[in-house]
Amino acid sequence: MEALVAQKVTKRYKGRHRETLALDAVDLSIAKGRLFAFLGRNGAGKTTFIKIASTLLAPTSGRVELFGRDVVADPAAVRPLIAVVPQEGKPFYHMTPREHIVEYLRVRGASGETAKSRADGMLEAMGLNEYKDEVSYRLSGGLQQRTMVAMILATQAPFLFLDEPTLGMDPFARRQVWKVIRRAAQAGSTVLLTTHYLDEAEQLSEELAVIESGRVLYRGTAEALKSTLGREVRLRFSRGFTAPELQPYGRVFEERGAVTLLTMRKDVRELTELALERGSEITVGPVTLEEAFLELVGRGIEEDA
């Protein structure tokens, strides 16, 4: 069963001097219980889509259904089923993490007992126990963001919208949050998240979509997206090579004084030996989602090569 179905969703923002097309006839469906990531550059349309699907913003045209309910025509039927972590949302400055979770759950109709027990479980899972009674203005940005995410995940809403949920978190905290997000999906919630951390999308999502200039360019798994590159291995040479001489082997780009080559496995031995002869340090690894993303979006690599 589909949890979300979007058909021809278009959004135009009217400014004083020009009109911006933020979403251009987006079609998308997300199966119930899926962990789905939305990738795209800044301004690509990810947040606009999330805002429309979570009833925060009206589309210019098109239709979005959540669990069969129309988010535009019948938002009141949709809202009890959803919860959203807004992009760059910040907690109430005067409340503690525990109060945030308990009070938000109670506002949504949970009993005091349920709210407290869920809050305690969530604080533990998110590594917030140590800070549970600190007012939020005394917390770091990363802890404030964790508080926001904890508050929303504790709702156990059937559909969770997480707009850049790990923004500003350290790598440990991110991994802790990933675990809780995965647990939410395993418990039956459908999760739609946006992120600029491509490792996060790769680690978390079962399926992803890449959006650019308001259009969905790709939809599928991270592995399948990487395979579209037609390259298997990533070689990074610290010195001794120029981009033009490596071009016959695959895609080449230069960054921070080093040359990176995306190539096939069969070429690795030859290039490694050449690197040893030239005294170049070489790093070998699989191609990343980031490279596939950059290739797909059609910027970056060509510009740098």
Partner: protein
């Protein structure tokens, strides 16, 4: 969520947006109290000895000023939570209805002002005798004025996209309602041919009605061209309250357009 759930939601919002910050930052009470008290002080120093009726009227004015400025607090708080902290969004994407959110925020603004209101009411009892009925009547005026001001504040807060646009609008709107109209000073001091202008502001009705129910006599009558009746004042205030509450319920942008 059924109606009972929405009422509970409103009180929970009042608890965590009004009571908790008040408890943790009691200085907020003085911030609310100080401006009307300053007005009162200057009026008393300047006019107290010459017109003894000014002071009770100005104290009632202090009560109304404090209540009207809950609208400004509402405007700023709602705009801040929506634009700066993105917190209104978590209530939009939830079972909480806009009216429950509005009431919760409005109650929390009232919570901030209750200590100041108690102080002003105590001052009022010191400067003039007020019957129990008059006191209840004044509370009724306070409630209507609070609902009117906070509805207006919420409505305006949803119409703008920048906090910087909202700050001057709040000051302009609520100063026009609480400072310019005859709240602290009696209406008869306005030149006769301009007295009708004061009645364009619903706060003038609130002030006239509050004076009437508490028995505060501000001396000279209004010019003959101005209808002056407590029932008319009640109709004016109640009408404005209903109008702003309906506007907030139906015109406020709960979902961005």
């Amino acid at each position: 969520m059924i109606a009972g759930g929405q009422v509970k939601a409103a009180f929970r919002i009042c608890y965590f947006n009004g009571i908790i910050p008040l408890w943790r930052s009691p200085l907020l009470i003085w911030a609310v109290f100080l401006t009307p008290l300053s007005f009162l002080f200057f009026l008393f120093v300047i006019t107290g000895p010459t017109d003894p009726q000014f002071l009770p009227h100005a104290v009632v004015g202090g009560v109304l000023f404090t209540v009207i400025f809950t609208g400004n607090g509402m405007l700023n708080d709602c705009a801040y939570l929506r634009l700066e902290r993105q917190l209104q969004q978590i209530f939009v994407a939830s079972p909480v209805r806009p009216f429950a959110y509005l009431m919760g925020m409005a109650l929390s603004e009232l919570a901030f002002t209750i200590p100041a209101l108690v102080l002003f009411l105590a001052i009022l009892l010191l400067v003039t005798p007020v019957s129990l009925l008059g006191f209840v009547g004044l509370l009724g005026v306070v409630l209507l004025t609070w609902l009117m001001a906070t509805s207006l504040g919420f409505l305006i807060s949803t119409l703008f996209k920048q906090l910087r646009e909202i700050w001057p609008i709040g000051t302009l709107t609520f100063s026009s309602l609480a400072v310019l109209p005859p709240i602290f000073y009696p209406a008869y001091l306005i030149p006769a041919r301009f007295q009708w202008v004061a009645f364009l502001a619903p706060s003038t009705y609130a002030s006239q009605l509050a004076d009437a129910v508490t028995g505060v006599n501000v001396g000279s009558p209004l010019s003959p061209g101005v209808l002056n009746s407590p029932w008319l004042d009640l109709a004016g205030l109640a009408g404005a309250t209903i109008l702003f509450a309906l506007a907030a319920a139906y015109l406020a942008r709960w979902r961005e357009p």
